[in-house]
């Protein structure tokens, strides 16, 4: 096979800091390569450096990126622009903001086709645009060219982004976290699409992801990056079954596996009497004429010392339920009882919330100590001295140094910030902790630490935890029971292991099938037929 992309000793500096340090790889025509790493490993910077699209301040200080004999690292800007999109193309993470909202899809494809002066006439470009949309699996492609981006779902928009990248039959397609913003079932479709395009058009694929599962599903070879360096490389199956570098082993060990049984029972035994009882909970947004129902009669029981996992895709009503439980908004129907008593609209000391985003959920103007003390002040617990002592105790409890109470949130890392968020939620001594995607924004290794912390807190304090997440593997690991949410309803509830191994509801089965596994199983013909069926099902939804 001929080599299309040859990267040697690529080094990228931001000021005095080195983001990418001597990365090198070869990509043969039609090959697939995955780059995996945690945040700050330099994988995205590597991707941007391939097309020399580094953000301001970054520059390639050494090495070369040879694409069919030309060095992209030193090519004049003018010549480089002629190559971008034509021979090497890129797909970005966020399909919502990558398409121009005021232009039709047809216009945007037309523009991409015109960009390199292919000399096609208008009618030919139109036909080619329809062909591209068809290639990426948009139903009724020719008819949809006149539609605007908002008329497509998130997964379809990512398909359109891929169509745009393929406009000139680029030899290399670089996909930077192509599915991170998408739900698991949609992610599965996009990964299958990338694999199919690689197989059918022979486009070489570079996939960048923090998720080993995503790489495993799409790439034959992979690089593991850490702190700007490649620590391990090789065939995907080999690296996964026999990792050489300790970091790769650590990374693999931290990835939650769907086939591992729940560890919750060993951690704590749930009590008999339910602590939190939810009956017929409904929530409707908007005006009477244009209303959106986020929750349809949700029933839920949470026992003391129990972890109830709640899974579902975006828009299924998980967060609305969490917010109703902590009293952030009033439900339109139904009841929430705590120890048999109806909870009113006043603040609930006993039910506290841990947020998904450890960055936006901490007030940047306050110190860690002030943030944790805030609920104590609000509930009038203790005086100044007692509060300071409690803050120190809480910081110790979540594994942070009490001496850090005077620091601002920005001085903490993502995982440490999530610990701060947990400490804040624990401050008023709640008996129920609602965790809304508490680990989704964290790297896998940090994710494992936070999960361990929650398990320890449950063991020590007998907390009831409602653990909301979209990652079924994580949920199975931590939960006693799992509830599956879909379209504002709970469609299935049961013991964690049973729900994963023998799902009763078809939607649960669909969710389970979409979890990217670590066995490198490239989609067979039966699989892809199923994917197409799924795709047509979901595009109507």
């Amino acid at each position: 096979m001929t080599t299309v992309l040859h990267v040697t000793d690529l080094t990228v500096d931001f000021g005095s800091a080195t983001a990418v340090d001597g990365v090198g790889f070869e990509l043969a025509a039609g090959d697939t390569l995955g780059i995996v790493g945690e945040s700050g490993s330099g994988k995205s910077t590597t991707a941007l450096a391939l097309l020399r699209m580094l953000p301001p301040g970054g520059r390639i200080s050494a090495g070369s990126v040879r694409l069919a004999g030309q060095d992209l690292a030193t090519l004049p800007e003018e010549a480089l622009r002629a190559l971008r999109g034509r021979r090497i193309a890129m797909v970005f993470q966020d399909p919502m903001s990558s398409l121009n909202p005021v232009l039709t899809i047809g216009r945007q494809l037309d523009e991409a086709l015109r960009a390199h002066g292919t000399g096609l006439r208008k009618a030919q470009r139109h036909a080619r645009a329809a062909e591209l949309l068809d290639l990426v699996g948009i139903p009724d492609a020719a008819g949809r060219l006149r539609d605007h981006p908002h008329q497509f779902s998130g997964g379809q928009r990512q398909r359109i982004m891929i169509a745009l990248a393929l406009a000139h039959d680029a030899e290399v397609l670089v996909a930077d976290e192509p599915t991170t913003a998408l739900d698991p079932t949609v992610q599965q479709q996009i990964l299958r699409l990338l694999t199919r395009i690689n197989r059918e058009t022979g486009t070489a694929l570079v996939v960048i992801s923090h998720d080993l599962g995503v790489i495993t599903q799409t790439c034959r070879r992979l690089l593991v990056m850490r702190d700007g360096r490649v620590v391990e490389r090789g065939a995907t199956a080999e690296v996964l079954s026999n990792p050489q570098h300790p970091y790769t082993r650590e990374l693999l060990a931290a990835v939650p596996r769907l086939d591992e049984p729940s560890r919750a029972a060993a951690n704590s035994t749930p009590g008999e009497q339910p602590l939190l009882t939810v009956r017929g909970l409904g929530k409707t947004y908007g005006t009477r004429r244009r209303s959106v129902t986020a929750l349809h009669g949700v029933d839920l029981d949470l026992h003391p010392g129990e972890t109830l996992g709640l899974v579902g895709e975006s828009g299924s009503g998980k967060s609305t339920l969490a917010r109703a439980l902590v009293g952030a908004h009033a439900p339109s129907a139904g009841s929430i009882r705590f120890r048999g008593q109806e909870l009113g609209r006043r603040p609930r000391r006993e039910v506290q919330l841990v947020f998904q985003d450890p960055y936006s959920s901490l007030n940047p103007r306050m110190t860690a100590g002030q943030i944790i003390a805030e609920p104590l002040i609000a509930h009038g617990l203790g005086d100044r001295e007692r509060r300071a002592a409690r803050v120190a105790e809480l910081l110790g409890q979540v594994g942070l140094d009490p001496a850090t109470a005077g620091r601002h949130p920005r001085a903490f890392s993502g995982g440490q910030r999530q610990r701060l968020g947990i400490a804040r939620a624990l401050a008023p001594e709640p008996s129920v902790l609602i965790c809304d995607e508490p680990v989704s924004a964290l790297d896998v290794s940090v994710q494992a630490q936070v999960i361990d912390l929650l398990a320890r807190l449950q063991r020590e304090l007998g907390l009831a935890i409602l653990f909301i997440a979209h990652d079924l593997a994580v949920v199975r690991q931590v939960s006693h029971r799992i509830a599956v949410m879909h379209g504002g309803r709970i469609v299935e509830t049961g013991p964690a292991d049973r729900v994963v191994t023998a799902p009763e509801h078809p939607y649960t089965a669909e969710l389970l099938a979409a979890v990217p596994r670590l066995e490198p199983a490239l989609a067979g013909p039966a699989d892809s037929a199923r994917a197409t069926a799924l795709a047509s099902n979901r595009s109507t939804a």
């Binding site: 945040s39 910077t45 923090h210 917010r323 936006s360 959920s361 609000a378 993502g414 804040r424």
Partner: protein
């Protein structure tokens, strides 16, 4: 990368303002405003000529006795401009904080309920619908010319700017998760607003203040120019400019000094505003 924003540790907020000011824009603005303000403050030391004393020499050009020349009544322009700067700065430094305080209070009131928001917004609309000049004429018609009408007109004109700016900031910050976290933690709505939301929403107001100051110089000039401002013979930059217009063709030197001082102030404040804006947006 998914988490590219993670590594962007924002520098201290005060540091961002400072780093904004320490650019060529900010430094030029500070130098201009500083020079003019210093001249106004030190007026009694820099000259012992009474700004209102009339002399026999009318419309004289610059000389050793009268560095900027004299006006049509033979008054020393050097002294008048320096004292005029002092008057101007006193007026706008009284009016802008009053306007800012009223505007911000209105914005906080608007944040309490939907009805309050509606009322406050319509009140802002009403103020904005009045062109500045009509507002000036209306206030002066009631109170007569003098210092207070100028202060009131400037303050009124600044209220909607500050109010809208803060309201927008509050609306954005109130939807952030830390505000929800405070609410879930049991904080009262007033505490959430004042302790959590407000400190995070005031950043743009620093820029707004610099813009308001330049606008204040402008409004004072316009009012004095039309004879609605501070009563003569007390000098202000606007009134000296207004006098000089009649002699623009014969004695252009008359207008030079007040014009330079006004321009330096407005330009300086605008540059500072722009520098601060770039600083906090970085």
């Amino acid at each position: 990368m998914t988490t590219a924003t993670l590594t962007l540790k924002s520098p201290r907020v005060r540091g961002r303002h400072l780093s904004g000011l320490l650019t060529w824009r900010g430094l030029t603005g500070l130098a201009l405003v500083g020079a003019v303000a210093l001249a106004g403050l030190l007026a009694p030391l820099l000259t012992d000529t009474d700004p209102n004393a009339q002399g026999p020499l009318a419309l004289a050009g610059p000389s050793a006795d009268h560095p900027f020349g004299t006006d049509d009544l033979g008054r020393d322009l050097y002294s008048r401009v320096l004292h005029g700067i002092g008057t101007d700065l006193t007026l706008i430094l009284t009016a802008v904080p009053i306007g800012a305080l009223l505007g911000c209070s209105a914005a906080l009131l608007a944040a309490t309920s939907r009805w309050a928001d509606l009322a406050v917004q319509r009140a802002f609309d009403l103020l904005l619908a009045f062109p500045g000049l009509i507002l000036g004429l209306a206030v002066t018609a009631v109170l007569g010319p003098g210092r207070w009408p100028v202060v009131i007109v400037i303050a009124l004109a600044e209220i909607p700017g500050f109010g809208r700016q803060l309201r927008a900031g509050i609306l954005v910050q109130r939807e952030r998760e830390y505000a929800l976290a405070a609410r879930v933690g049991g904080s009262s709505p007033a505490r959430v607003l004042l302790r959590h939301v407000l400190p995070n929403a005031v950043d743009p107001l620093v820029v707004q203040t610099a813009v308001a100051l330049s606008l204040g110089v402008f409004i004072e000039g316009a009012m004095s120019f039309l004879g609605l401002g501070v009563r003569p013979p007390e000098p202000t930059l606007g009134s000296i400019l207004s006098q000089s217009v009649a002699y623009l063709t014969t004695d252009p030197a008359f207008a030079a000094a007040p014009l330079a001082a006004t321009t330096a102030l407005v330009l300086g404040f605008t540059l500072i505003a722009e520098a601060l804006n770039r600083g906090i947006r970085r």
